[in-house]
Chain length 163, copies 2
């Protein structure tokens, strides 16, 4: 079968970057602790100060405990509009490793500030003891810009898009 | 820590059922073939004739090949509105096993008819040789009805909701 993957170009990198920069939430795929199967949850998401996607989650959530045990995960970023075929809307399947940043850790202040700048309603619970920030380091991505517009990006492509 | 999971009741089952019945698409978490890590993609989704979530996907997609090798997967069903905190919108993290139903198999006709009834635009490509229907058999689910409204449903709960 012919490969459906197009060569990566500046336009594809810019689209990936835009999807991360405008995200408010994402679908997080993680490894379930009980049986090692893939599971998916919705999480809050913003672009952090260094460009890495950053979430805020409770330790009480199933996915937070799972990420601490098995940090390799994936984020689906880019939401369809209410109208039209949802599969024509661009989305990024990002592979990443997750790292929890708790209250009192040196990075927490800057990450919390960046998070609240984009999601001000989170100030109601970001101070709770069980809520921590989670920073995702990109490893690579599949970008789908609509039918027939598929790209495979590596971590350098995602950095390149920031220049 | 206090468990955030509420006892499952009829209301929770009915909400899970409604999320499946009204879905147009979902985030699919699957096991990547290359390294066994969890990955997530957007897929089309409708409620099939027997209540099981049903998708239509190309064999050229990364996730289709992966599901055929490792059919245990998860679907995130239930999309936020444009306004408000996206984490207050109900969503279902469904655990399932995937089974591909190809052109020429006995079930294909009824599944294709049910799919097209809800996603008529798919008639443009449902006949393509590389497009197959995928039926998801539910194993259980996590239901999140908004902050503090979490439930764990088993396969029977999801069936009960159909009565």
């Amino acid at each position: 079968m012919k490969s459906p993957i197009r060569p990566t170009d500046d336009e594809a990198c810019a689209l990936a970057r835009e999807l991360i920069a405008t995200a408010r939430f994402a679908a997080l795929a993680y490894t379930d602790m009980t049986d090692g199967a893939p599971m998916v949850s919705r999480v809050a998401l913003v672009e952090g100060p260094d460009g890495a996607p950053t979430s805020l989650m409770s330790d009480l959530s199933h996915h937070s405990a799972a990420l601490q045990r098995s940090p390799v995960c994936s984020l689906l970023i880019g939401e369809p509009k209410d109208k039209g075929d949802p599969l024509t809307h661009p989305r990024l399947s990002l592979r990443a490793t997750a790292r929890v940043v708790r209250h009192g850790e040196p990075e927490h202040g800057a990450l919390a500030e960046a998070f609240l700048a984009k999601q001000p309603k989170a100030k109601l619970y970001i101070g709770f003891a069980d809520f921590a920030l989670v920073r995702f380091t990109p490893l690579g991505a599949h970008l789908n810009g609509g039918f027939g517009k598929a790209y495979v990006l590596n971590a350098d492509d995602l950095v390149r898009a920031r220049r």
